[in-house]
């Protein structure tokens, strides 16, 4: 947490400006879906805008695989570290911080400030490492609900997320039906397909077979399974982009203009993937990556209802906006339509936009006017007192 008054930094219009992270500590044990229990934990979070007198304007932003509580704005002295959904969240933006009090939280098991595998286990005095339990979407929602209690938020005006974040928004409507008035479920799937799980498993294998992984207790050895993380990230990136977007961005362009007949970087796409992999392996915790991919694999709210998603959503009361992107092959529009159908079967309020965008799964992070237009219009109709 930054306690020093930041120097004034010029921010582009629409930015929430300089922000700082906060932490909340919890000492009531959290029972996890796996059967394990975490006795004490911390959650890192950021807020933007003002909570109104009736505490009715709070919006929770749930993050996906590699993001964090740093949703919008910049940190003092680090103007390049822009929040991951800054194009959506800010004054005058689709999720308008002039009207809404926006909360971003780093999930339990994360590596950006919340208690996770790299944190010190109070019982041993050493990093949790392999001992950190596996966490699920349901567990995250539980922890987020406790953070809401801590902040005095009884009911969210909205819960929004993309991809894995959208799964949390969906879970909120089932775990706490009366605590969420609107759920914005973007680039989602009601559960992973075998192909999705397969990609996750290859990513996990890349990490766990890295000699520097040491069964998850690499911290004691002063190393990081960099090669594994790098491969995991490269693989992930392929699934986030569409074939067309990759062709458009890189095609078969060569780094140096001609073939060299060796195994160095030749094609631009190779350079891009290596760069993304390298960058990721610098800051992301391998144990967190393993757990987040597992949380994705485990998410299947319909499983307890003979695979009937409509039954699982029977207790939901929120209004929904579901958005998908035509070029997203990781979580295709058909997956979002499964969610829409289950909501319609329950006669719940839902609008569904299928955005014809070329960027693939990553489109939910892009500034597409049709996409942002629908999200903006939806938020404008959410009453705040």
């Amino acid at each position: 947490m930054n306690t020093v008054a930041p120097p004034p930094v010029a921010q582009p219009p629409g930015s929430v400006g300089v922000v700082s992270a906060q932490k909340a500590s919890f000492d009531r044990p959290l029972q996890l879906r796996s059967g394990a229990r975490i006795d004490r934990y911390e959650l890192a979070f950021e807020t933007y805008g003002r909570l109104n007198a009736t505490r009715s304007n709070a919006v929770l932003v749930c993050h996906a695989l590699n993001a964090s509580h740093h949703v919008a704005g910049v940190y003092a002295g680090d103007s390049k570290n822009v929040g991951w959904w800054d194009n959506l969240v800010g004054p005058g933006k689709p999720l308008d911080t002039e009207r809404f009090f926006v909360l971003g939280v780093n999930n339990l098991g994360g590596c950006h400030g919340s208690t996770g595998p790299a944190s010190v286990n109070p019982q041993t005095g050493r990093p949790w490492g392999a001992q950190f339990p596996l966490v699920t979407v349901e567990d995250w929602v539980e922890a987020q609900a406790r953070l809401a209690d801590y902040l005095g938020i009884e009911q969210f005006a909205g819960v929004i997320g993309g991809s894995l974040g959208a799964m949390q928004a969906l879970q909120w409507t089932m775990s706490y039906p009366i605590r969420v008035r609107n759920a914005l479920v973007i680039a989602a799937a009601p559960k992973l397909s075998a192909q999705n799980i397969a990609f996750n498993e290859v990513a996990r294998q890349a990490i766990t077979t890295d000699p520097d992984f040491h069964g998850g207790d690499f911290y004691a050895h002063g190393v990081v399974p960099r090669r594994g993380l790098r491969l995991a990230r490269m693989l992930g990136h392929i699934t986030y982009l569409s074939d067309d977007a990759m062709a458009e961005k890189f095609g078969r362009a060569l780094r140096s203009g001609s073939l060299k007949f060796n195994f160095d970087v030749e094609f631009e796409i190779e350079s891009y993937l290596r760069y993304q992999g390298d960058k990721f392996s610098e800051y992301f915790d391998a144990n967190t990556y393993l757990r987040i991919t597992k949380a994705l694999d485990y998410f299947d709210p319909a499983a307890h209802y003979d695979g009937d998603l409509a039954k699982a959503l029977q207790r939901a009361q929120a209004r929904f906006l579901v958005v998908s992107f035509t070029s997203d092959w990781r979580f295709s529009p058909a997956r979002s339509r499964e969610i829409v159908k289950a909501l319609i079967d329950n006669r719940l309020d839902v609008s569904y936009a299928e955005i014809d965008a070329p960027h693939g799964h990553d489109a939910f992070l892009m500034d597409d006017p049709r996409y942002h237009g629908v999200v903006r219009a939806y938020f404008e109709n959410i009453e705040t007192d």
Binding site: L321, V340, I344, D345, Y352, A353, V374, E380
Partner: protein
Amino acid sequence: MPVDQASSGRLARRRDFDAIAEWVRPNAHVLDLGCGDGALLRFLRDRRSATGYGVEIDDARLLASVRNGVNVIQSDLESGLSEFESDSFDYVILSQTLQAVRHTERILREMLRVGREGIVSFPNFGYWRHRLQVLGGNMPVSSNLPYQWYNTPNVHLFTIADFESFCREHGIRILQRAVMDEDGRPVAVWTNLLGALAVYRLDLNRS
């Protein structure tokens, strides 16, 4: 006859709204196919406490529906209504949309599968003004057909007589009918000649 396309399009829609609202039971669950900016759904919500959804394919109209605060599902009517269970709506509505749908038989079959009843409104191509324009050598343009031949979204133009024989041939029962002139006044005689707009309440003859 000079026609202000934008305003007349809106007015033309309004004319069938009243007839539709009169037929729709309070608290009914409705599906509006080709819902445009969601005005009809809003009207039915305000007048009849109706719930339900619109279906719209166009990005701009979808956005307008979201702005209007109605539920709208982006989907192509031509590919069917697989998102919707059989008999899951009290009414499925095609308000001045049928003439713009390519697969007429399929959409009407789907409509009466998903809805216990269907409500269809359409501009009557047999309206005397339209006939005069065709006799004069031009495709008709009027407040109910506000497009030129080259920019019309309409792919099937038909008359009241055509629609009623279609219903007979396809086992569709006509439960109620309202025919009106260009000013929205009811037309009781020579409907196929004097009617500019027709509205029907239908169900499937399941016997």
